[in-house]
């Protein structure tokens, strides 16, 4: 009884009030408008995505081209100012490079005092090449990694293309040692071949020029540090002999 009267009262109150005739037409109109708006926004979003992908593809190509340039230039980075150390990780597949963010040109005696790693030196060197306390040495830091480069060069006078006499410098010996383990991988370089060698008990790799078979450098690790040696006048066996004499 109670519920029936509440129900009856509420129905009596509102059921006689007419529903606006235009309501359904208005709902239909807005429904179509909102659906079209959603479709429009979806299409705009799709177009934006397509545009983004279209822009990203050439960007990817630029990145790739840049990487190719970096790959080709890795052996040219042996000047004093760049101080790049290169390791061949796998035969013909991976090359690791470390470019220190800080380097200090100094002498060997000073380098021995400031370097955080013990500097190993070869006890055997080919005739005409010597290392002493004044030998130019670079100490580089890359994060927590310490790298030392000992460079023996020969200066001489020569003529340039216009006939003028200029002073030139050629590299005779380059010994590099690093404690770096975290290295950046780049692709292999064309025009060089790599072979496995033994440096004492350790495995090493020797990089040779493909055309002449002349060694460019040799690198290996003693389990704690990585080493790389370049010697301009050394053949394959001489280079291995220098490496094995490192103490």
């Amino acid at each position: 009884m109670t519920e029936n009267f509440v129900r009856a009262g509420l129905h009596r109150a509102v059921d006689g009030i007419e529903i606006p005739q235009h309501l359904w037409a208005s709902i239909q109109k807005k429904h179509v408008f909102r659906r079209n708006r959603r479709l429009y926004l979806r299409r705009v979003g799709l177009m934006a995505t397509v545009l983004l992908i279209a822009i990203a593809i050439p960007l990817g190509s630029i990145t790739s081209a840049f990487a190719d340039d970096a790959e080709k230039s890795w052996l040219l980075r042996n000047g004093v100012g760049t101080f790049t150390i290169t390791f061949v990780q796998n035969i013909g597949e991976k090359v690791a490079e470390i470019t220190p963010d800080l380097f200090m040109p100094t002498t060997l005696s000073h380098a021995k005092q400031i370097a955080k790693i013990p500097i190993k030196l070869p006890t055997y060197l080919p005739e005409g090449i010597t290392i002493n306390d004044d030998t130019p040495t670079l100490v580089g830091r890359f994060g927590s990694a310490e790298t030392v480069a000992i460079r023996v060069t020969q200066k001489f006078l020569t003529l340039d293309g216009s006939g003028r006499t200029i002073s030139a410098e050629s590299e005779l010996l380059d010994i590099r040692e690093t404690s770096a383990t975290d290295v950046t991988m780049v692709g292999s370089d064309q025009g060089y071949t790599v072979e496995k060698v033994k440096i004492g008990e350790n495995d090493g790799l020797i990089v040779l020029q493909t055309k002449s078979s002349l060694p460019l450098f040799i690198n290996w690790s003693d389990g704690r540090y990585w080493f790389r040696i370049f010697c301009s006048s050394a053949d394959r066996d001489t280079l291995i002999k220098i490496a094995e004499s490192m103490r």
Binding site: M1, T2, E3, N4, F5, V6, R7, A8, G9, L10, H11, R12, A13, V14, D15, G16, I17, I19, P20, L23, W24, S26, I27, K30, H31, R34, R35
Partner: protein, 189 residues
Amino acid sequence: MPSAEIELIRRCKNHDEAAFAELYQQHIQFAYGTALILVKNPNVATDVCQEAFLKVFQNIKRFRDGEPFRAWFYRILINEAMRLTRRMIRWPIPTDKIPEKWSPSANNPETAAVSKELCIEIWESVQRLSPKLRVPLVLRYYADLSEDEIAKTLHIPLGTVKSRLNRGREGLRRIFPKTVELLGGVYHD
């Protein structure tokens, strides 16, 4: 849920415009009445219904088959009504819109026994209840939702619905002395 309603909703999910119109025709009467009782203003009740139906049409694919459709629909409707009346604008009951004479339908013969003045007093009594008690009362006695459907509409336990309906009825007795007689009881303060 009846199989005809399941089929109708399936058609709505496939963007059948005729099915939308049918769904509107089936629910507009009680939806408009419910909104009107809650917001009291015919224009606002129209806006509430419009937004509720638009949201139903837009989100019909989210409706899970097997759930009671009325519970889902009235949840949207109540939310819209609450959203549009959140600014606490208190409209008066549109007494001029209520017809003097009323021909009750065969389904509601009791309405013949209720005069215009009495139905206004009942409406006013319902309005004085707090929204927590008012909404379940309107859904139960006007929209004719079951207690279980009200629980699903308002996301509250069934026991809470029963308790609120009891408290709503009790509230009506306190607010309106004439209703006390109608509801068949004596209120002692």
